[in-house]
């Protein structure tokens, strides 16, 4: 990869250890993606915020880094492990976890990030103009940015996005260019898909696709289904982009996604027919999704505990518009700054199984939290789990 003299000097440590480390990461990721140079980026979104995932080594690394590092561009961050406003209600979470999570939060804030603690930055902010280069580490956000937001990003790693935030640059990899080769086309063969089906389509696409896929046989789905698809796709593979095409446009390799393929994924992730509690919001819910939920819950109440995850910014907007009243009256617990995935809020001593409509959530609930998963679309959750 070609570096400018200034970038070369930073890589050689002439501008301090932080920039040396950042450029070392950018060079490695540039080599990994066959990029010939670095390009400026306008917005970085970082993962690696939840103490549950980055652990002591991550907490120490960020504490050291924050003594010197400062972000150079607009930088937003992923969810933490829990909601500080509600942590006293979760007795099983120990003080050590709370202390370490606070340290991670403070390190990011010290580096100048916008404390969004959200996996859905695209629901909080207006997106920049078409073709703007960004660096998003959260996989569902990267896929959303490339596929629906008209932005350009790699499916960044926690460190490559952090290096981009600190330098304002990222490797000019294939995904950032316009002339990407014709990708695999997935032919959607499932009729009237709901958001859970779209999540499974995404999960399937992530498994069979390389860096990008075309999807034929669907008209533009609603935003909930699109988010579900981004979440599913980001979880299962390396694919970072999808594009809806008319079936007559597809010229390259093709693969079908029908009932059989969908049932296989369902059986992989659905391990029980009943959940002890319900979680909604992976990715975190948007204002529109909260509005829909409040309408669906009118006059009904949850029969069991239901955790509802949205970003702080969205919760504040929902409160001012009174969308939260109906949800909380129905027994829903609205939690912010965290999400279904990898949260320690689910007490595995008390919870054996979780009902959710999220494929991404299901994957992490099953494989990381270690609980059984019951998958249902939202309409079915309302039908079965409320009265």
């Amino acid at each position: 990869m070609e570096l400018t003299p200034e970038e070369e000097a930073s890589l050689n440590g002439e501008h301090g250890e932080t920039l040396e480390t950042a450029y070392r990461i950018l060079v490695a990721t540039g080599e990994a993606t066959n990029a010939e140079r670095l390009v400026p980026i306008q917005w970085a979104h970082l993962s690696g915020v939840n103490y549950n995932t980055i652990g002591d080594a991550g907490e120490e690394f960020l504490r050291e880094l924050s003594k010197d590092a400062h972000v150079k561009v607009k930088t937003t961050v992923n969810p933490m492990g829990f909601d500080f406003d509600h942590i006293s209600e979760f007795k099983h979470i120990d003080d050590e976890f709370v202390r370490k999570q606070a340290s991670i939060r403070d390190s990011y804030i010290k580096m100048g990030v916008d404390p969004t603690f959200s996996c859905t930055p695209y629901d909080i902010f207006d997106l920049p103009e078409k073709n703007t280069q960004v660096s998003f580490a959260e996989s569902n956000a990267a896929i959303f940015a490339n596929s629906l937001g008209d932005l350009k990003t790699n499916k960044e790693s926690a460190f490559s996005a952090l290096a981009s935030a600190i330098t304002g640059k990222s490797p000019y990899s294939d995904l950032r260019k316009d002339d990407t080769p014709t990708p695999l086309t997935i032919r959607m063969k499932v009729d009237n898909p709901n958001e859970l089906d779209f999540g499974m389509l995404g999960f399937f696409a992530g498994k069979v696709g390389d860096t990008a896929v075309n999807i034929s046989g669907v008209s533009q789905p609603n935003r909930r289904s699109c988010k579900a698809m981004c979440g599913g796709m980001g979880t299962s593979g390396t694919c970072a982009k999808f594009q809806f095409v008319n079936s007559d446009e597809d010229t390259g390799e093709k693969v079908d996604f029908g009932k059989e393929e969908m049932n296989e994924i369902f059986d992989e992730l659905n391990t029980t027919d009943k959940g002890d509690l319900i979680t909604l919001g992976s990715p975190q819910l948007s204002l529109e999704e909260l509005s829909d939920l409040s309408k669906m819950l009118k006059g009904r109440s949850f029969k069991k505990r239901c955790m509802i995850f949205c970003s702080r910014a969205i919760q504040n907007q929902a409160r001012s518009l009174d969308y939260t009243n109906e949800i909380e009256r129905a027994g829903g617990e609205i939690l912010s700054d965290c999400c279904t995935c990898l949260t320690p809020l689910i007490d595995t001593n008390e919870t054996d199984s979780v009902t959710t409509n999220s494929i991404k959530g299901a994957y992490y609930l099953k494989n990381s939290t270690g609980v059984a998963v019951n998958l249902k679309p939202l309409s079915k959750i309302i039908e079965d789990e409320t009265k």
Binding site: R24, I25, A28, G48, T53, A57, S160, G237, T238
Partner: protein, 127 residues
């Protein structure tokens, strides 16, 4: 010709898997033991070995797992992949673990249990 992603020199015994690795979740970030039953190297440790695998998958936070392994002295001494991905590349870059993308022929010739030297400065990188 193999491609250097992260420079360095290391030697060790090969542990090879045919499974793409999701570092977040599949690998214990303190001990380096594979804890996902779906992997053909389940319950094996990746500590102090030359890890040979197709490529990384899944969460972007897996880069922190690689860094954590290094901090706990449980990291592989080098990694050799078929295909580079950003999570493994950036994790190795920060943790100073040499990382190579091997040609198909080289990748196929790497066998479990063999002792190998990785030297990115040498004319023949894998020996």
């Amino acid at each position: 010709m193999s491609k250097v992603i992260v420079q360095g020199k290391a030697e060790g015994t090969i542990l090879k898997t045919s499974n793409p690795i999701n570092f977040l979740g599949a690998v214990d970030k303190q001990t380096g033991v594979i804890r996902d039953k779906k992997y053909d190297i389940y319950e094996k440790s990746i500590k102090d070995i030359v890890l040979v695998f197709p490529h990384g998958i899944g969460s972007s936070v897996g880069a922190y797992t690689i860094y954590s392994l290094k901090s706990h002295q449980s990291a592989p001494v080098a990694m050799i992949c078929q295909k580079a991905d950003l999570t493994v590349a950036s994790g190795c870059a920060l943790a100073n673990i040499p990382m190579i993308v091997a040609t198909e022929e080289e990748f196929d010739s790497l066998n479990n249990g063999n002792y190998i030297t990785v030297d990115t400065e040498s004319e023949k990188i894998l020996n």
